[in-house]
C-alpha cells in the first residue's frame, strides 16, 4: 500500500490525475442533497479527483439558503437574494440528477431515484439536511405550518411569515417557539427574534415578541440578551424552560400556543418544531433512535452502514453545531477522505473549523467559532480555542462583525454553488 500511495503521489505531482477505478470501471460517488454540505462535497470531489464520476441528487432546481433568511423577514433582503442554482456545479463536471432519492440499499450500494433510475455507487455521501418531526409537538403538522409557519427551511415559508408580519396590526403579539436541542442553527431562533424586533421597532413599535423556549440556555445567550436590552428594551420577552417556556401543544385555528403554565394567543405565530435528519437517512439505515446520524470523526462515515458518509445538519458531529459553515467544512474534509479511501490510502486526521455570525440588528453582528479534531471517536473542541465575541465591544466591533457576516455569506455561497 505504501508503494501505491507513493505512486499516486508521484503521478499527482507530475500533474497526472491518478486513475481511480472500481469493479464497474470509473469510480462513482453519489451525493444526496444539494445544500451547503452536499453541493460542496460534489464540487470538492470533482476538483480533487477529476476522474471520478460524481452525481448530485437534488430535486429542487433552485436552492434557498437558510443563512441570512432572517434578514428577509426583516425586509433587509429579498428571497431571490437567498437563491442559488446548480449551473456552476454542472459546469464543474458534476452530473446533477434533478430528482429525489427514494431508497438507499447499503448492501447492494445502490440509490433508487424517484424517476425510476437506480444508481450504483462506490461511496455515497448523504447530506439530506433536516425534516420536521410532525406532531412531536401536538397540533403541529404540515397543515398547521401554513397557519403558523416554521420558516426553518427557507423559501415559501419565509415569504409566508414575512407576509403575516407585514399584515399584522401595530400592537400585535408575535410568538416564537424554539425547540429543545439538537436542532438546525442553534443561534437561529435568537437572531430571528432580534431581526423581527428590529423590524417591529421601525414599523410596528407597539408590538412585542414572546419567545417561548424549550431550553434554559442558548447559543451566544449573553450577547443576544445584552443586545436586546440595548436595542429593543421591553420588546422581547424570553421565557426559558424552567419558567414554563416549553410549548406543549398548538392550535393553528386560533393561533394559540399552550405551555405547561399558560396559553398564549398570537397575532403571528412562528413555531420552530422538533427536528430529525432528512427522511432518506432513516430509510438508508444511517439514522439512530435519536433521529440523527452517528458518524466516525475522520471521513464522517456512518457507524451504522459502511461506505455511506453523512454530513451537515443530519449528522451527529460531536461538539460541532448544525451550521452551514460546519456542513461546508465537513464536506471538504469528507471529499478529501473519500479520494484517499478510493485510492486505498488512509485519510488524514482532520481539523475542522466552525464560524457562525448572527445579526442582532442590520449593523450589529456577533459571532461564535470553534476548532475541532477527532478525539475518542468523535469531533471534539480543541481546548483553549473558539468562543464567542467579547461582551464588551470596542472599536466598532459589532458593526465590523455585521460586515464580516455579509462577506462570509458571499464567499461560502460562491464556494458552494459557484
Amino acid at each position: 500500500m505504501a508503494t501505491r500511495r507513493h505512486f499516486l503521489k508521484l503521478t499527482a505531482a507530475a500533474g497526472l490525475a491518478p486513475a481511480v477505478v472500481s469493479a464497474q470501471g470509473k469510480a462513482r460517488v453519489v451525493v444526496i442533497g444539494g445544500g451547503f454540505g452536499g453541493a460542496t462535497a460534489a464540487r470538492a470531489l470533482k476538483a480533487l479527483q477529476p476522474a471520478l464520476d460524481v452525481v448530485l441528487v437534488e430535486p429542487n432546481p433552485v436552492y434557498t439558503s437558510c443563512p441570512f433568511s432572517n434578514s428577509v423577514l426583516a425586509n433587509l433582503r429579498e428571497i431571490d437574494q437567498q437563491q442559488f442554482r446548480y449551473d456552476g456545479i454542472k459546469g464543474a463536471g458534476v452530473t446533477v440528477a434533478e430528482t429525489s432519492a427514494t431508497a438507499v440499499d447499503a448492501g447492494a450500494k445502490t440509490v433508487t431515484l424517484a424517476d425510476g433510475n437506480k444508481l450504483a455507487y462506490d461511496r455515497l455521501v448523504m447530506s439530506p439536511g433536516i425534516d420536521f418531526a410532525w406532531n412531536a409537538l401536538p397540533g403541529y403538522d404540515e397543515a398547521a405550518a401554513e397557519k403558523m409557519p416554521h420558516a426553518w427551511k427557507a423559501g415559501a415559508q419565509t415569504v409566508l411569515l414575512r407576509r403575516q408580519l407585514q399584515a399584522m396590526d401595530d400592537g400585535g403579539l408575535v410568538v416564537l417557539s424554539a425547540p429543545a436541542n439538537p436542532f438546525r442553527c442553534p443561534p437561529g431562533p435568537y437572531e430571528r427574534a432580534s431581526l423581527i424586533a428590529y423590524w417591529l421597532k421601525i414599523w410596528k413599535p407597539k408590538s412585542k415578541l414572546l419567545l417561548l423556549d424549550s431550553k434554559d440556555a442558548f447559543s451566544k445567550q449573553r450577547l443576544f440578551q445584552n443586545g436586546w436590552a440595548e436595542l429593543y428594551p421591553g420588546m422581547i420577552e424570553w421565557v426559558p424552560l424552567s419558567q414554563g417556556g416549553k410549548v406543549t401543544s398548538v392550535d393553528p385555528a386560533t393561533l394559540t400556543l399552550t405551555t405547561e403554565f399558560a396559553t398564549h394567543k398570537a397575532a403571528v405565530a412562528n413555531v420552530i418544531p422538533p427536528q430529525k435528519a432528512g427522511a432518506i437517512a432513516a430509510q438508508a439505515g444511517v439514522a439512530d433512535r435519536t433521529g440523527w446520524c452517528p458518524v466516525e470523526p475522520v471521513a464522517f462515515e456512518s457507524t451504522l452502514r459502511p461506505n455511506i458518509h453523512v454530513l451537515g445538519d443530519a449528522a451527529i458531529m460531536g461538539g460541532m453545531p448544525k451550521s452551514a459553515f460546519a456542513a461546508n467544512a465537513q464536506a471538504k474534509v469528507c471529499a478529501a477522505a473519500i479520494v484517499s479511501l478510493l485510492a486505498g490510502a488512509r485519510p488524514q486526521d482532520p481539523i475542522v473549523i466552525n464560524t457562525c455570525y448572527s445579526l442582532v440588528a442590520a449593523d450589529y453582528g456577533i459571532s461564535i467559532a470553534g476548532v475541532y479534531r477527532p478525539d475518542k471517536g468523535q469531533l471534539t473542541d480543541i481546548p483553549g480555542a473558539g468562543g464567542t465575541s467579547p461582551l464588551d465591544a470596542v472599536g466598532g466591533l459589532r458593526g465590523q462583525e455585521a460586515l464580516y457576516a455579509a462577506s462570509w455569506f458571499r464567499t461560502i455561497t460562491a464556494e458552494t454553488f459557484g
Binding site: L48, A329, I351, V352, G384, R410, E415
Partner: protein, 97 residues
C-alpha cells in the same frame, strides 16, 4: 523567531512539491469558507491564497497571542500549534490567487 522558522518552511516546501488540494494539511480546507479566491471581490475578509507563507505565519501568531486584535481569528488561531500553522501557511502560499 523568523530565522528559526524559515529553514523549516523551506524544507517543507521542498518536501511537499507542487501542492494539490488533496494534500491540504489539517484545517486548511475550512479556511476557504470565509477566505475567498480573488474572483470574489465583494468581501472585507482578506484573500489568503498566494500570500507569502511567512506573512501568514506571522499574522496567525499575532492573532493567537492577542497582539493583533481580531474578531474570530484570535479564537481560531488558538486551535493550531506552530507546526500546523506553518503547514497551512505553506499550502495557501502555493495556491493560485
Amino acid at each position: 523567531m523568523h530565522r528559526a522558522l524559515l529553514p523549516g518552511l523551506a524544507s517543507m516546501i521542498l518536501l511537499a512539491g507542487p501542492a494539490t488540494a488533496a494534500d491540504a494539511p489539517p484545517g486548511a480546507s475550512s479556511c476557504t469558507g470565509c477566505h475567498a479566491p480573488k474572483t470574489v471581490s465583494d468581501t472585507v475578509i482578506p484573500h489568503i491564497a498566494g500570500r507569502k507563507a511567512e506573512d501568514i505565519v506571522t499574522v496567525m501568531r499575532a492573532y493567537r497571542s492577542g497582539a493583533w486584535p481580531s474578531s474570530v481569528m484570535g479564537r481560531i488561531a488558538k486551535g493550531f500549534d506552530d507546526h500546523q500553522t506553518e503547514a497551512i501557511a505553506v499550502w495557501f502560499a502555493a495556491q493560485p490567487e
